[in-house]
Structures are given as structure tokens and as C-alpha cells.
């Protein structure tokens, strides 16, 4: 392939990934690395570098919209970013130590896990509990706008959330993804933060987490501008289109199809890793 064809095809693929990712809420970053390595035969390190850069673009681009809506909790985000940035630094450090085949297997596992998480609908019983001491000390309890005015919420199990966030950060740095699914699990499941606040705060944290490993990637030469250019521009435009297009009726089916695709890519990544398809 020549430069023109390659750039155009990668741009188109990234656009579709970004569009579907934001429309379904599953994130486009997670399918980029398999897309680049499986279909475009890109070396895993270059793919991870390009993916990470695009994660920063979509996170910052959509965070701008969320910050204004007042759902995200800056204090929770900031505190947990300590966990994710240290994790990300560690994960980025590991990419040079862990063999690519092992990274591919971990990647496949994470892909299948994120597809699984998105399929689960989990009704939460809202048991009224007294505010958690640590969360109160950390001034994390907050409010957010709801259909019926302003709703207040309490935050629980901060250490558990902090722990899961460290893992989310490490995976982000190791795999070049936003690991939004795991971030939401940490906040929504462990810390019992309302879903809307969890998702927007997670999105707000993804860019900072990714920036923590991006510096390491840059100094290792993982970030190739000629590859990252079409990936970043494609994902960014695609995800902005995805947030604007409202196809409420078809989102459910689309979600199922897209998570099916994610599972297939996960299996393919695992097979590649197991058969030693990546060096």
C-alpha cells in the first residue's frame, strides 16, 4: 500500500470505530489496536501509541461538553487520578518488558471483559446508608442535576475504588486504551457513585491518565505521527459525529452488534497472542 491509500483507509476505519464507540458508549479506542494490528498489519507498539493519542483526543473533546453539564465530580476525578496516573506510568513501563504476545492475550481478555460489562444491566437497590467517613473527609459527596431538580449522593468504599483505578491506569498504559469500562466499574460498583456521574467523571479522567503514559510512549518512539495522524483525526471526527447523531431506537441493536464485534476481535487478539503471531 502507498501512503495515500494507507492513510485514507486507516482514517476511514478509525472514523467508523470512533462513531460506533461513542454512539454505543463502548468507546472507540478499544477496537483501534485490533483494527490496526489485524487488518493493517501494524506492529503492536505503533498501534498502541496511535490508539493512546486518539484516546486523549476523544476524552478531551467530549469532556468539554460534559464539564458544562455539571455531572462530573472534579474532586473524585482528581483524587482517583493519583491512582490512574501512577498505574499508567507503571503500565507504560511494562510495555517494554512484557512480550507482545502476552500483551495481545491481555488485550483479548480486556476486550471480552468490556463487551461483557456493557451487556450487563444491573439494577441497583438504593439502600440509604450513613455517609462514609473517608469520603466525607475527602469532600467527595456531591450533587448533580436530575430530571427532578438537584440530586445529592454519597460516596463509599474509597480504598476499593482507588485500587481498581490503579489497575485501570496500568491497563491503559500497557494497552494504549482509555479503560473507561473499568473506570466506570470502580466508581459505579465499588464507590456507588450514580451512573451518570461515574461515566462523565471517568471520561474526564481518561485524558489525564492517557497523558501519563503518552510521555513514556513518546520517548520510546511508539508514537509515529504518520500513523497517529489519520487515527486521531478519524476517531475524533467519528466520535463527535456519534455524540450528535441521536438514533435512540437503534442504539440497542447497534450496541449488541458492536459488542459482538468486540468479542470477535478479542478472540482474534488472543489467538494471535497464543500462536505467536506478534513479535
Amino acid at each position: 500500500m502507498n501512503v495515500l491509500e494507507f492513510t485514507f483507509l486507516v482514517w476511514t476505519g478509525s472514523l467508523v470505530a470512533g462513531f460506533l464507540g461513542s454512539l454505543t458508549g463502548l468507546g472507540g479506542g478499544v477496537v483501534l489496536v485490533p483494527l490496526l494490528t489485524i487488518f493493517f498489519h501494524v506492529d503492536l507498539r505503533y498501534a498502541i501509541g496511535a490508539s493512546l493519542v486518539s484516546v486523549i483526543a476523544t476524552s478531551s473533546g467530549s469532556a468539554a461538553a460534559y464539564v458544562k453539564e455539571g455531572f462530573s465530580n472534579v474532586r473524585i476525578g482528581m483524587f482517583l487520578e493519583i491512582a490512574t496516573t501512577f498505574g499508567a506510568l507503571f503500565g507504560a513501563y511494562l510495555t517494554a518488558k512484557v512480550p507482545p504476545n502476552a500483551i495481545a492475550i491481555i488485550f483479548g481478555t480486556v476486550l471480552m471483559y468490556s463487551a461483557f460489562v456493557s451487556r450487563r444491566t444491573r439494577p441497583r437497590t438504593n439502600v440509604e446508608q450513613p455517609p462514609d467517613q473517608l469520603a466525607t473527609k475527602l469532600k467527595m459527596n456531591g450533587t448533580f442535576p436530575d430530571t427532578s431538580g438537584v440530586r445529592s449522593y454519597n460516596v463509599y468504599r474509597v480504598p476499593a475504588g482507588f485500587g481498581v483505578m490503579s489497575i485501570a491506569g496500568a491497563l491503559s498504559g500497557l494497552l494504549g486504551i482509555g479503560s473507561g469500562a473499568l473506570k466506570v466499574v470502580a466508581m459505579d460498583q465499588a464507590m456507588r457513585i450514580p451512573f451518570k456521574v461515574s461515566t462523565t467523571t471517568s471520561n474526564f479522567m481518561i485524558g489525564v491518565t492517557a497523558a501519563a503514559s503518552a510521555g513514556v510512549y513518546l520517548s520510546r518512539g511508539y508514537i509515529d505521527a504518520a500513523l497517529a495522524m489519520p487515527v486521531m483525526l478519524g476517531v475524533l471526527i467519528g466520535s463527535l459525529m456519534g455524540t450528535r447523531v441521536l438514533v435512540k431506537t437503534q442504539t440497542r441493536l447497534l450496541r449488541q452488534v458492536f459488542s459482538g464485534v468486540i468479542v470477535l476481535l478479542g478472540i482474534e487478539m488472543m489467538l494471535k497472542g497464543l500462536t505467536g503471531g506478534l513479535r
Partner: protein, 127 residues
């Protein structure tokens, strides 16, 4: 405790993020068009990892290469600006917490800021 959800602060952060993404995208597009115009028919192969040349691996090297008009350097500068956007946001949060005299959160943001700056400027030590 003064709430941080002050509307002015929020729109400041939102505008900063939006501007950062927009500026970096424009720089990447500028470099990309030059790059595509220079060698559209060259063969592409990303199968093997070579790593980027030394001048595109550090912040000051990227700025220098971009200023010399090199298309790859310009694209890389756009990506560097993108990476810098969340860092500037954290810096802004640091200033806001300092103004609110929230010392605990000032400490937290300074830790995050230190990790980010270390990654961008000091990580060659572990890479």
C-alpha cells in the same frame, strides 16, 4: 468549602479542552497535508518496529524539527500539543484549588501534575 462547580471555572475548563483539541487537530492536519503532498506514492510498512528517530522522541526535539518545516515534525508537534492539553488542565485545577485555599486537593493535583511532567520530560530515564 467553596464548591468547584462554579460556572465560570467550568466553562474555562471546557473551553481550554476544546481549544487544545482544536489547535492540535489543526496542526496535525497542516502537517498531514504537507506530508501527503510530499510523498503520496511511497510504500508504507508498519510491520516491524523501528522506533521514531531521536529528534521526534523528546518535547524540545519535536519543537525544533517542526520549526524547521519537516512535515513529520509538524504532525508530531500537533500530537505533543494534544498530550499537553490534559496537563494544562491539571495545572489549571492546581491554580483553582490554590485560590480556594483547599490545601488537601492542592496537594493531590500537585502529585498528579508531577507524574505527568515526569512522564513527558523525565521518562527517558526509565525508557
Amino acid at each position: 468549602m467553596k464548591p468547584l462547580n462554579d460556572e465560570r471555572v467550568e466553562s474555562l475548563i471546557a473551553n481550554l479542552l476544546r481549544a487544545g483539541v482544536l489547535i492540535s487537530a489543526l496542526v496535525v492536519i497542516g502537517g498531514g497535508v504537507t506530508y501527503l503532498g510530499h510523498n503520496p506514492w511511497a510504500h508504507v510498512d508498519y510491520r516491524t518496529f523501528h522506533g521514531e528517530p531521536g529528534n521526534l522522541k523528546s518535547a524540545h526535539g519535536i519543537v525544533r524539527t517542526a520549526l524547521s518545516g519537516d512535515p513529520r515534525g509538524i504532525m508530531q508537534l500537533g500530537l505533543l500539543l494534544l498530550i499537553a492539553t490534559p496537563i494544562v488542565r491539571v495545572l489549571l485545577s492546581t491554580l483553582i484549588f490554590a485560590m480556594e485555599k483547599d490545601l488537601m486537593y492542592l496537594g493531590f493535583t500537585l502529585i498528579v501534575l508531577a507524574v505527568l511532567l515526569y512522564s513527558l520530560f523525565g521518562s527517558f530515564l526509565i525508557a
